[in-house]
Amino acid sequence: MRGFVARRSGTQRLGAVAAVLVVLSAPFGGWRSASDAEVVPLALDQRLDLGPFYLTIDSVKQVTELPPVLEEDPTSRYLVIKTTVTNHSDRAESATLAEAAFAGDHIGILPWPDREDAQLRVYGVDDAVELPAGEFINPDVTYHLAFVLRQEPDTDLEALTLAVRGYVFQEVDPQTLDPDRWVLDEDPIAEGHVPIEVGS
């Protein structure tokens, strides 16, 4: 064995080590397919399966105010994404999973005046109550949620695209020993431009 290895060139030895490492990476997920799912064009009234939740975008609207929760602000507009979200899993799941699923391009996002971040705010469509941080959605419960962001008034709404990403259920995480959690996919399930209604 020693003689066999000694007779191989440096390149061959390096290749052999690389091949062994690739083989040994299999139990760690090294051979797992990157992403076979096709990204579909985003559309209104299209039910997307995020993993824990079904999410449907019911409407997207740009407004100057959102009574009774957001007052008119001449320096910005509000983009309101109204959705229907149902937890179809068998356990309570954090509502932040729905919030974190959203991404976008050319959205002209601005930070909130009372916060340093530019994150989405989430309100109940039926009661206008802002969903508290850490709220859970129980199994089979459906919420009508409005995801709201503050954007620049001159945002080109025709160029604006949204994306919705899904989750993979990770039963075991060998690196963190944090089992049974949803991990956000890098690639979206659906993305594209949807009609944006402009209101007052």
Binding site: V5, A6, D127, V129
Partner: protein, 208 residues
């Protein structure tokens, strides 16, 4: 010199692979110890090794109105199940951290933060604490719900081996059929050292 290095490298890689197999295949992360359920029913005291738990009332609501301030009233996505509880720590001051509902399929429901009701109960020894827990439950899952309370934490799986009150809320199929159409509105309660009666209001009466 090369052989020991190669052997060591192979041994390390093999150890990593074996460790991964042990971790993923032998189910070492699964809960090995379940909580010890003490079954009870509404209106009866359930005695745990560290406290007494009594569910005194259960009722449905469409809204839970804030007691103070100008906050808006949250509406249930399904039906709010309001569970009134009297809890007494019997051995030492105790935080009853884990309160949830379990349905007939074994699914667990967390209390709704947006309802501004109790999330847990912190009690001094021998002092009864009264609490209202508000859960948002799908209308088709109401019948057969059980209320479960213990010291452990559901998130960190520290319920393992703990004594847990497991109270049948007595919600029948007929209750489920009528509760799903409820339009009741109650003022929110959290925890109190005094007993409280739930106050039914109309949304017009909510402080604003």
């Amino acid at each position: 010199m090369r052989a020991p290095r190669l052997t060591a490298t192979v041994a390390i890689l093999a150890a990593l692979a074996v460790g991964n197999v042990i971790n993923t295949r032998l189910d070492v992360n699964t809960e090995q110890l379940h909580p010890v359920a003490e079954e009870g029913r509404i209106g009866k005291v359930t005695h745990l090794t560290y406290g007494d738990v009594e569910v005194t009332d259960v009722r449905p609501a469409e809204y839970v109105a804030p007691r103070f301030g100008d906050d808006l009233s949250p509406k249930a996505g399904g039906v709010f199940v309001l569970v009134s509880v009297k809890v007494t720590a019997t051995r030492e001051p105790t935080l009853f951290l884990s309160a949830y509902l379990e349905d007939s399929r074994g699914r667990r429901y967390r209390a709704a933060s947006k309802a501004n009701c109790a999330i847990n109960v912190d009690g001094g020894t021998g002092i009864p604490v009264y609490a209202l827990f508000c859960f948002d439950v799908a209308p088709q899952a109401l019948a057969g719900l059980r209320f479960e309370l213990s010291r452990g934490n559901l998130i960190y799986s520290t319920l393992n081996g703990d004594h847990l009150a497991d109270v049948d809320l007595g919600i029948s199929d007929a209750d489920e059929a009528s509760w799903r159409d409820t339009d009741a509105v109650y003022l929110a309660e959290t925890t109190s050292l005094e007993p409280f009666e739930l106050q039914e209001v109309t949304l017009d009466q909510v402080p604003s």
